[in-house]
C-alpha cells in the first residue's frame, strides 16, 4: 500500500487534471467554473500535503511537550497558512465569474460557451 502522502499527491494531481480537461472540453459555462474550482482545490490539497508529516502531530504546542520533540514531530504550518488565503481567493473569484455568467445568460439566453465568441 502506498503511503498516505504520496496517495494524496496523486489525488491532487488527478483533481488538477480533471479540472483542466473540464475547462477545455466542457461547453457549459457553469460546468467550466465547477472545473476551475476543482483546479484550485487540487492545488490547495497539494499545498496541504506538503505540510503533512507521516506519523506526526497537529502543530499546536501543548504544555508539557519538550520543544525539540515538538519541532521534530509537528506538521509544517506554513503551507496551511497559505491555503487558508488561497481558499478564500478561489471562492471570491468564483463568485465574480458566476455573477458575470448570470448577466450574460440574461442577455443571450444561453449557457453555452459559444456566446463568448465575438
Amino acid at each position: 500500500m502506498i503511503p498516505v502522502q504520496l496517495a494524496s499527491f496523486f489525488t491532487a494531481a488527478a483533481l488538477i487534471l480533471i479540472g483542466i480537461i473540464g475547462v477545455f472540453f466542457i461547453d457549459n459555462l457553469i460546468k467550466k467554473v465547477i472545473a476551475l474550482s476543482f483546479i484550485s482545490d487540487g492545488v490547495n490539497l497539494f499545498l496541504v500535503t506538503l505540510g503533512y508529516k507521516p506519523g506526526g502531530i497537529v502543530y499546536i504546542y501543548m504544555p508539557g511537550m519538550s520543544s525539540s520533540w515538538f519541532a521534530q514531530n509537528a506538521s509544517y504550518p506554513l503551507p496551511f497558512a497559505l491555503v487558508l488565503t488561497s481558499i478564500v481567493i478561489g471562492a471570491s473569484t468564483l463568485a465574480v465569474m458566476l455573477a458575470i455568467i448570470i448577466i450574460l445568460y440574461h442577455r443571450h439566453g444561453s449557457l453555452s460557451s459559444k456566446i463568448l465568441e465575438d
Binding site: M1, V4, A7, S8, F10, T11, A14, L15, I18, G19, G22, I26, N28, I30, K31, V33, I34, A35, S37, F38, D41, N44, L45, V48, T49, G51, Y52, K53, G56, I57, V58, Y59, S75, F80, V83, L84, I87, V88, A91, L94, A95, L98, I101, I102, Y105, S110, L111, S112
Partner: protein, 77 residues
C-alpha cells in the same frame, strides 16, 4: 485506511459532478469533494484548514453554484 477511501470519494465526486446533465445536481455534487476534502485535511494534520474548507467547500461554493443555476437554467442545452 479511511484516508484512501476519502481520496477515492473526492475523485469520483469530481468526475460525477462534471458528467451530470442536470446543473443543479452538478452544483450539489461539488459539495461532495469539498466536504471530503475537509475530512482529508483533518487527517493531513491541518485542522484549521479543515474548518475553513468545511464551510467554504461544502456549504458556500455549492450554494453559489445552486444560486447561479437558479438564476439561469437547470438543464444543460
Amino acid at each position: 485506511m479511511i484516508e484512501y477511501l476519502i481520496m477515492i470519494i473526492i475523485i469520483l465526486g469530481a468526475i460525477l459532478a462534471l458528467v451530470q446533465r442536470d446543473l443543479l445536481k452538478a452544483a450539489i455534487l461539488t459539495g461532495v469533494p469539498g466536504a471530503s476534502m475537509a475530512f482529508l485535511y483533518q487527517f493531513l494534520l491541518a485542522p484549521d484548514v479543515a474548518l475553513t474548507q468545511a464551510i467554504v467547500g461544502s456549504a458556500i461554493i455549492p450554494v453559489f453554484f445552486a444560486l447561479a443555476v437558479y438564476k439561469t437554467r437547470r438543464m444543460e442545452e
